[in-house]
């Protein structure tokens, strides 16, 4: 087709510019998100490499209590001990290093190692230290000598302290490692999972973009039906029309893609603040290289062009236009079969489990399959469910707008569902996730439970009676400290720690027998992050004696305030040789599954937010396209006296009914699947209400849709003005 003819087809004034502006805005938003996710995916290994110096490598060596000799300091070796530590409910990393005075080993950034008693802190950690009294945090590390650069950190919020230690003291501590150089690269065990999630997220964002392009192409075809028909009449083929539409979309998505770089730059600061693998991100870690950026934009543009081409090709405006409405192929109840199979695969194991709990491996497989089939089943059954809902609406409709809207929805169930399909899947998955997370949180969030370790106690390792004395001395003058208890290594081979009955009661044990000493299972008392949290605690057992020369753990009982717990922790850390960080039951739970679960949850909510935004846009465009398809009819109805408010109500119902119905259905199904999984596999877990973020996401989806629909009223009103029928 000649450029002049194509131009005639493409540029039909304000509607064309508005439509192109919509597609450019939608694609820019989507590409912005894709670029952020792509950057995160590509730079995950870089994040790992930057923390390799404190994570990998090193040689295990035999300990002092074995016969092997301790390593001696040389110019080419260094000892390193990396451990998590806790502060005010959060964690940070403490890296202890020891080296000879003349060591040639340096950190990957070229700086010298700190001497014993000195420390470097990351900027986030330095800020944390500065913001709190030293007896709560700063005293744990010694004298600050500076901050570490970004090249040694996972991200800006990475909280790490590099503490210089005494060689001999560190050599005796398990699991210190002997290094001859700090590793410059490595891959963490969970990087693959994060990269998978990011890759799925990037692809998932493309789905609503394609839907948007498809719907906007339909809108374009509706707006230009007469033009297309005229050009067909004078000899243009179906492919030529589709080619023009595809080319138009290719250019629009290309422009949107380029603007997406700006969107990515605008949202990157906010995206950087989200925690990924325990830390926020540097902007550079969310920025893909130029070649990848160009590739992503070109790929989206080609996808956009191809989608528009196919949509217009299928729309097939003939030489005589479309004087008759082309009805969709009728959707039937057969579409619900896959959904029903999926639900049966979830319900079946749930019932069978009550009779035979032994086959849980089989149930796992069945339920995972059931989840996948249910997710696909929702998409397949969606148009049928939409039609069903619209027929119910029509059955009870009593006003003109409701009858008109229900008729439209019933006859265009596929197109209607298409505009909300992305959101339906997102809401289903997020609801499922929110349900499962609520159950996990219910279990792993520690509470003061009789028999378990008191929530007010801080427990630390001790290696000698001198250390017990040192801790006792250190806490004597501290505010908020109520007492101290000590557990000793057993004198028999039972393996359980031994305490006095008084100390056992002080740390929370119940049913403590009156005996010279009692043995108890400290891990059982501490557990808060595993399934055994709900199991009953084994009461302490009477035993004969305590070997006071072999203390194992010291418990500092506080008044329960966070400040007192941190003071106790600092006192234990500064009075004992480096070992496992002192912790509370809450710290133990946080170190378990909660933080990872919350990160995944946040990513799921973000995915839902993107799906909501783009689905709302798609839904609005689809609704406007549907209104424009009937522009002449609506205008003539208005000419016949139909108030403009009725037309607005039609638009509002056509947009809100499918969204409301599908939101409710997919959320309900998501929670049902979560409940089924928890009932079958949850080991006595029970689902509770999802947290506030879930409800905010739902409210946001409704608000965004409402705003988008209200925004379209002006266009619909203008296009159905009675004066627009003057040439009818």
């Amino acid at each position: 087709m000649k450029p002049s003819a194509a131009r005639l087809l493409l540029l039909n004034g304000a509607p064309a510019y508005r439509r192109l502006a919509e597609i450019v805005a939608g694609v820019a938003l989507g590409v912005g998100m894709v670029l952020i996710l792509l950057g995160g995916f590509l730079h995950m290994p870089d994040r790992d490499d930057r923390v390799a110096w404190r994570t990998y490598g090193g040689e295990e060596f035999a300990r002092a209590d074995s016969e092997a000799p301790l390593p001696v300091p040389t110019a080419n070796t260094v000892l390193r001990l990396t451990q998590p530590d806790y502060f005010m409910g959060g964690t940070y990393t403490i890296v202890r290093v020891a080296a000879a005075d003349d060591t040639a080993v340096t950190l990957p950034d070229g700086l010298a190692l700190p001497a014993p008693g000195e420390y470097y802190a990351s900027p986030a950690m330095a800020q944390l230290i500065e913001d709190h009294p030293s007896d709560q945090l700063g005293d744990r590390f010694g004298t600050p000598i500076g901050e570490r650069g970004d090249e040694l950190l996972q991200g800006p919020s990475d909280r790490v302290v590099l503490v210089g230690s005494d060689w001999e003291e560190l050599a005796k501590t398990y699991p210190t490692q002997l290094e001859d150089a700090f590793p410059a690269s490595g891959s963490k065990f969970n990087t693959g999972l994060y990269r998978t999630v990011l890759a799925i997220g990037a692809v998932a964002v493309l789905i609503p973009i394609v839907l948007l392009i498809s719907i906007v192409s339909q809108l374009g075809a509706s707006e230009r039906r007469e033009r297309f028909a005229t050009v067909r009449l004078i000899g243009a083929g179906r492919r030529a029309i589709a080619g023009v539409s595809g080319f138009e979309m290719l250019i629009a998505t290309l422009v949107g893609g380029v603007l997406g770089i700006g969107v990515a730059a605008a949202i990157r600061p906010a995206a950087s603040t989200l925690e990924l693998d325990g830390s926020t991100s540097f902007g550079a870690d969310l920025t893909p290289p130029a070649l990848w950026t160009a590739g992503a934009i070109i790929a989206v543009a080609l996808l956009g062009g191809a989608t528009a081409w196919w949509r217009t090709f299928r729309d097939d405006v003939g030489a005589l236009g479309s004087s008759r409405e082309r009805a969709e192929k009728k959707v039937t109840a057969w579409r619900s079969v896959m959904l029903l199979v999926g639900l049966a695969m979830l319900i079946g194991p749930m019932i069978a489990f009550r009779f035979d709990a032994a086959a849980s491996e089989f149930y796992n497989v069945l339920m995972l399959g059931g989840f996948a089939i249910t997710a696909f089943g929702i998409v397949v059954a969606g148009p049928w469910l939409t039609r069903l809902a619209s027929r119910v609406l029509n059955r009870f409709a009593s006003t003109a707008p409701t009858v008109v809207a229900a008729g439209r929805l019933s006859r265009h169930a596929r197109a209607t569902f298409r505009s909300v399909a992305g959101l339906v899947v997102a809401v289903f998955i997020v609801s499922l996730f929110a349900g499962v997370v609520s159950a996990i949180e219910d279990v792993v969030t520690p509470r003061d439970t009789p028999g378990r370790l008191s929530m007010d106690a801080v427990v630390g390792e001790v290696g000698s009676p001198e250390e017990v004395h040192a801790v006792t001395a250190a806490i004597t003058e501290l505010e908020g400290i109520e007492g101290i208890a000590v557990a000793y290594w057993p004198t028999d081979d039972q393996g359980l720690l031994v305490m006095t009955p008084e100390d056992a009661r002080a740390i929370g044990a119940v049913d403590v027998p009156d005996a010279p000493a009692v043995s108890l299972d400290l891990f059982e008392m501490l557990a808060g992050g595993t399934d055994i949290a709900r199991d009953p605690v084994t009461p302490p057992v009477a035993t004969n004696s305590i070997d006071e020369s072999a203390p194992s753990q010291v418990f500092v009982i506080t008044d329960g305030t966070a400040e007192a717990k941190e003071r106790a922790r600092t006192a234990i850390e500064t009075s004992t040789v480096p070992g496992r960080a002192p912790l509370t039951r809450a710290d133990f739970a946080a170190a378990g599954t909660l933080s990872f679960t919350h990160e995944l949850e946040t990513m799921a909510y973000l995915g839902m937010a993107v799906a909501i935004g783009i689905s709302a846009l798609s839904l609005t465009v689809a609704t406007v396209a549907a209104a424009l398809d009937r522009k002449r009819t609506f205008a003539l109805l208005r000419l016949g006296g139909m108030p403009a408010a009725h037309v607005r109500r039609v638009i509002a119902i056509e947009a809100s009914m499918p969204l409301g119905a599908t939101l409710a259905a997919s959320a309900g199904l998501g929670f049902f699947v979560a409940w089924a999984m928890i009932e079958t596999l949850g080991n006595d877990m029970s689902m509770t209400w999802p947290d506030a973020r879930y409800w905010w996401a739902v409210v946001a989806s409704v608000a965004i849709t409402a705003a988008a629909v209200f925004g379209s009223f002006g266009l619909v009103r203008r296009s159905t003005e009675v004066t627009s029928t003057r040439f009818e």
């Binding site: 004087s323 009593s398 008109v404 008729g407 006296g641």
Partner: protein
């Protein structure tokens, strides 16, 4: 013969009392003068055909009569209501309650059944769904298309769809119907059947009809015809004393 502007109200004996009275209507679109001082009376129960070439001002005339367009000069009175004194919302209300429209292509809502299409104006008027459906079904019966009640327009023939459109126009029992080329999209046989059905229905209910048509055979069904040329009524109008 040169065209002469006439005032039919003063030259044609009224068969009934005037329902619509247009006095000195002027309407322009930019530099184009669409109506140039038209005076016209249409009596109660009368079927008036408005003829004229394309661009002569026929549609503008009925749009002004129906209160769709506001004339720059002149007055339109329907019954005892001065249409030109009403605002847009009041004119819309007047159209909804007292006027029916039939268009060339029917312009039914494609997603609604024939029954719902006919019931729609009643629903817009606040009639309940059940009552509206009963009345709509009666009109489908009356126009001999009750077998099409559950079909959507796409599944009907042009003639059947146009009968549904006529039923929709009549269901509210309006005082006047404006029909713009109601048989223009139909073949002559179907057109004649539709027209006969419409005129039978309106004559039974003593409804006034203003019918725009290019077709002399269609105009012949009317009680009277006027010809619009260059925004004025022509002297060649039938039933008019020149």
């Amino acid at each position: 013969m040169a065209d002469i502007a006439l005032n039919p109200a003063t030259t044609v004996p009224a068969r009934g009392t005037p329902l619509i009275r247009a006095i000195g209507l002027h309407k322009s679109f930019g530099a184009t003068k669409a109506l140039r001082g038209i005076d016209l009376d249409v009596n109660q129960g009368e079927v008036l055909a408005v003829m004229g070439p394309s661009g002569s001002g026929k549609s503008t005339l009925i749009h002004c009569l129906a209160g769709v367009l506001a004339p720059e000069e002149g007055q339109v009175v329907i019954g005892d209501t001065d249409v030109t004194a009403l605002n847009a919302d009041e004119r819309a209300r007047l159209r909804l309650e007292r006027i029916g429209f039939v268009f060339q292509f029917g312009q039914l809502l494609p997603d609604l059944t024939a029954l719902d299409n006919v019931a729609l104006p009643l629903l817009m008027n606040g009639v309940g769904r059940r009552a509206a459906t009963v009345r709509a079904r009666k009109w489908l019966d009356r126009l001999d298309i009750s077998d099409q009640a559950t079909k959507v327009p796409g599944d009907m023939s042009g003639g059947q769809a146009q009968r549904v459109a006529i039923a929709r126009a009549l269901v509210t029992q309006p005082s006047v119907i404006f029909a713009d080329e109601p048989t223009g999209s139909l073949d002559s046989v179907a057109g004649e059947k539709v027209l006969t059905a419409m005129l039978e229905a309106v004559r039974e209910s003593n409804t006034t009809v203003v019918l725009i048509t290019h077709d002399a055979r269609t105009a012949a069904y009317a009680d009277r015809e006027v010809i619009v040329r260059d925004g004025m009524l022509s002297a060649a109008s039938r039933g008019v004393a020149a």
